[in-house]
Amino acid sequence: MGKKELKVAFLLALRSLQRGSRSSVVLTVLIIAMCFTNMVFLPGLFNGIGEGIITQIVDYEVGNVMVGAKTGEQYVTDLDATLDLINSMPGVERATPHISKGATLKYRQRILGVSVKAIKPGDEKYVSPLYSKMVAGSYLGEDDTGEVIIGKPVAGDATIKQEDEFQPSLGGVRVGDSITIEYGNGYTKDYRVKGIYFTGWTSTDNNVFITWSDMEQVEGKTLDYAEYITVKAKPGYDEKFIKNELQQYGVTGYVQTTGDLLKKAMGSVMQSFAIINMVSLVVGVIITTVVLFIVITIKTINSRRQIGILKAIGVDKEVIMHTYGLQVVIMALLGICFGIILTAILAVYLAANPIVTPEWKAYLLLTPGDYITNSLILFLAAVVAGYVPAWQVSREDIQSAMRA
């Protein structure tokens, strides 16, 4: 088909859209846009949830790489040397140790069982944004003793009755208050609450943090061991690269990347998300294809006589087929553009107002790749749905078409 034929087909298509039934065009474009939104929204939301969870796990749980105790051992030993070794490696921003101990918190009449974590506040700042999540008071200092920071859910709210609480708390601890911590080994000490934080990551918010030196007092000895070390990678460095380096340089311990850990922890969740995404995509594509097929079939059936006339005056069947096919192409492009705008607005809105649950925060994570892939899938579905009835009607003989 030549340029002239294509030009005529485009003119006929454009005029039909411009001067034909406007409501039908607007509705069809809207349906395509809604299908696009449907195809993009759910996977985008799942990606957002996944990405949010991953970010929080990296920030508050494991960093980019986690060094745990070797199989059969309880701790990572020779801590100072191990930390020095890890921190000296290229690509490592900072490594920081963690050790935790079960304890009972006491505040006025309230008693609460929690996990008390010891950190090195200075190093922790490089690995976790916990220091920036203080809602009252301030973060721990490197040499603080007798001071503690606690999660907002642990601190509780004095205005809420104990029986009305979502989870047990200390009933409204404020910065400067003194709380008693009774450790599993029998060591008991009063701590001043230096700060209250809220990260949105439940397991961290239910913790209490003390300094490494305070934990040494609890244990009654210098701690040259840790339960695990979290390692933050410098920007641009791959987790696997750091894991390989740590293993090559003989870091004692079980080295795992965030990816390794997530595969274990969230593999089946991600697989379920992928299945839901696929079902949503297939349903969206089928709906669009069927709707466009019906729209174009009705349009061609209503225009059979006109198609017969066009053929009679010397318009080739290819031109006629493209006339209807191009109408779908134009409507599909408009629908996809509208869908992109709509989902972009939703993404901006959800970025500002994420869906918050006690476990995670969700926003719409849409990459250019998602837009391109879904646009292409929808476009191809639309072209097939439009061209099939157009092809069928363009092959009808002139007499039958003109008699319609």
Partner: protein, 231 residues
């Protein structure tokens, strides 16, 4: 020159065989204004559609300027209609979403031997001839029946076809508009030596025809020059 030999068209309606054309043999010379007349169901439109390549006969032969047009492929027939033939239909058959100018230009736009400028010039000049230049940006629904039929004639003539087919072009028009249309056909025939084959069942139209072929039951009942044609 059109040579039609033993043309037959048989329709099957259930078990009944209907002979719409039953052995029509006819020669039409260049520049003739031929009227095909006859009662309803006599085969006038069927004959027009066969010669105009809008339908396929059951048997017979049609030669136009020495070319056996029934042997052409589908695409060749389309191109033959585009380059050599023009059509005017009873119900005007304009594309409702195109303006008058766009309707007239449409067949010319598809011709490979016409530039865009030529298409515009030809369309404009033919609209001027039919007196609808000032209506060129209007849509067909904004015109009267007579005006629409004149646009349809302009569309048929824009490619300067060898043969112009008109299938009861005045059937939906009042007598004043009918006369206007027939005068236009006459003018085209006289000025451009245009071959015109027109189907009609209105007796008074015969005054415009050079020659009248009358059909009855799919056969030629009479064929004669019309000495009484009015111009």
């Amino acid at each position: 020159m059109i040579e039609i030999t033993d043309l037959r068209r048989i329709y099957h309606m259930g078990n009944v065989e209907v002979k719409a054309l039953d052995g029509v043999t006819l020669t039409i010379g260049k520049g003739e204004f031929l009227g095909i007349m006859g009662a309803s169901g006599s085969g006038k439109t069927t004959l027009l559609h066969m010669v105009g390549l809008l339908d396929q006969p059951t048997s017979g032969r049609i030669m136009i300027d020495g070319l056996d047009i029934l042997g052409l492929t589908d695409y060749e027939k389309t191109m033959f209609r585009l380059y050599k033939l023009g059509y005017v239909f009873q119900d005007y058959a304009l594309v409702p979403d195109l303006t008058v100018m766009e309707n007239v230009s449409l067949p010319a736009m598809l011709r490979k031997d016409r530039t865009e400028a030529q298409v515009k010039k030809d369309s404009y000049s033919i609209l001027e001839k039919i007196g609808l230049c000032d209506r060129r940006d209007h849509l067909p629904r904004e015109l009267s029946g007579g005006q629409q039929q004149r646009v349809s004639i302009a569309r048929a003539m824009v490619n300067k076809p060898d043969i112009l087919f008109a299938d009861e072009p005045c059937a939906n028009l009042d007598s004043e508009n009918s006369r206007m249309v027939l005068d236009l056909f006459h003018e085209i025939n006289e000025e451009m030596q245009q071959t015109i084959i027109m189907v009609s069942h209105e007796d008074w139209h015969k005054e415009y025809f050079h020659r009248i072929v009358r059909l009855r039951d799919g056969k030629i009942f009479s064929d004669g020059t019309n000495g009484a044609h009015h111009h």
